[in-house]
Amino acid sequence: MKTIIAGSILVAIGLSMASIAQAQVKPETLVKQRQAAMTLQGKYFGPLGGMAQGKVPYDANVVARNAGYLEALSHMPWDGFAPSTKDVKSAALPAIFTDTAKFKEAQDRLQAEITKLVSVSRGGDEAAVKAQLGAVNKACGGCHETFREKK
């Protein structure tokens, strides 16, 4: 019993310290960082889109490498959409902060599609990879439709 209480106190302290650490990051910085994560997703997804359409020669090694990068990157932007950033000017729409469940759903969808991309990119089936790139593209666009101001 005592250990449980002591444990929960420690966890509580840990959590509050973590939230303090969060609170110390300026909203403007969070926005900059999440935008950087988005920019890099563009960097590694862009060439794959060209391959999916046959505009750029298909290169299985580049696909596999970029898919791996994207898997990590696709986890990075989201904690940058902290409520503190709500009033910082960006293309982020208010729905991000009002419809958090749907926003989370869109994140999960992207991550699921990228996980699938990673696994098909290891399989060597070019057609399957191209189809999956289309699915990733749709996950990006689906979220931009609802949560990002159109450019």
Binding site: T39, Q41, G42, K43, Y44, F45, G46, P47, G49, G50, A52, Q53, K55, N137, K138, C140, G141, G142, H144, E145, R148, E149, K150, K151
Partner: protein, 289 residues
């Protein structure tokens, strides 16, 4: 108006008396019609948004400030679709925005743009629609806010905001830009989203393609040179084919669908023409969103 009536009359005459040879001559080309249907983006609104949905069997919901519209079944099924229509019915729907029973269409069906499609293309589109497998999927009723669901109001709306008639080539534009203008204004109906609307839902024609708020109330980009001048023809072309910008960005789903269904399906010449036309537009300031 007179001209259209004459066209309709002559089509009716052909149907009545023309017999084999004349109707064979008047018959559209379904294969060409398929290309035109892609250029017209018909699929998106006339197909349900789910896996394994039947193409052109209707069901897509279009949410607007006036309520939700549902694209109807346009396969040749006699009850569920438009199987009982004549070619003249189809031409009248597209050119005049009028149903075979004489009622007016809501402009969610973009006849404000489709009216500019030329007679030959309408005939080919009709031939294509006739070639589709009939689907028995019933069309849904639109779900509109009072009083917008009352169709007689559309008489006034059309009088204010609808100018029927096919595209007439503009002597100040190159042949390529004219072709692009036709693709953008008539088939592509780009202005339906990219031109701002007034409070009655009429397009502000002096702000043609200047962006602002789209029909669903969300912002859409300006397509005039003010906005596009920073992108090369090659960049625009790649974007309209792959759906990805040079920096790897992906547009919102609505445009992604237009790219998949329409712009990526255009011939290289047509795509170049489309871009040439956008370049020729007067540069307009961004609209408020």
């Amino acid at each position: 108006m007179k001209h259209v009536r004459r066209t309709l009359q002559s089509i009716a005459l052909v149907l009545l008396f023309g017999g084999g040879i004349a109707s064979a001559l008047a018959q559209g080309d379904a294969k060409r019609g398929l290309y035109l249907a892609k250029a017209g983006g018909c699929l998106a609104c006339h197909t349900e948004e789910k896996k394994d949905s039947v193409s052109f069997a209707g069901g897509r919901a279009l949410k607007t400030p006036f309520g939700t519209f549902y694209g109807p079944n346009i396969t040749p099924h006699p009850e569920a679709g438009i199987g009982r229509w004549t070619e003249a019915d189809f031409v009248r729907a597209m050119r005049q925005g009028v149903r075979p029973d004489g009622a007016h269409y809501f402009p969610a069906f973009p006849y404000t743009s489709f009216t500019r499609i030329v007679d030959n293309d309408l005939r080919d589109l009709w031939a294509f629609l006739r070639s589709l497998p009939p689907s028995a999927r019933p069309s849904q009723k639109h779900d509109l806010h009072f009083p917008f669901g009352w169709r007689p109001l559309l008489v006034i709306w059309k009088w204010l905001f609808f100018t029927p008639g096919p595209y007439a080539s503009n002597p100040r534009l190159t042949p390529a830009a004219n072709r692009g203008a036709y693709l953008v204004q008539a088939l592509g109906h780009c202005g339906e989203c990219h031109t701002p609307r007034n409070f009655l839902g009429g397009s502000k024609q002096n702000h043609f393609l200047a962006g602002g708020k789209g029909p669903d109330g969300k912002g859409v980009p300006n397509l005039t040179p003010t906005k596009l001048k920073n992108q090369s023809d090659g960049e625009l072309k790649d974007f309209l084919v792959t759906g990805i910008t040079p920096d790897g960005d992906v547009p919102a789903a609505a445009m992604g669908e237009v790219i998949r269904n329409t712009t990526s399906q255009l011939t290289p010449d047509d795509l170049a023409a489309l871009i040439a036309y956008l370049r020729s537009l007067p540069p307009l300031a961004d609209e408020p969103r």
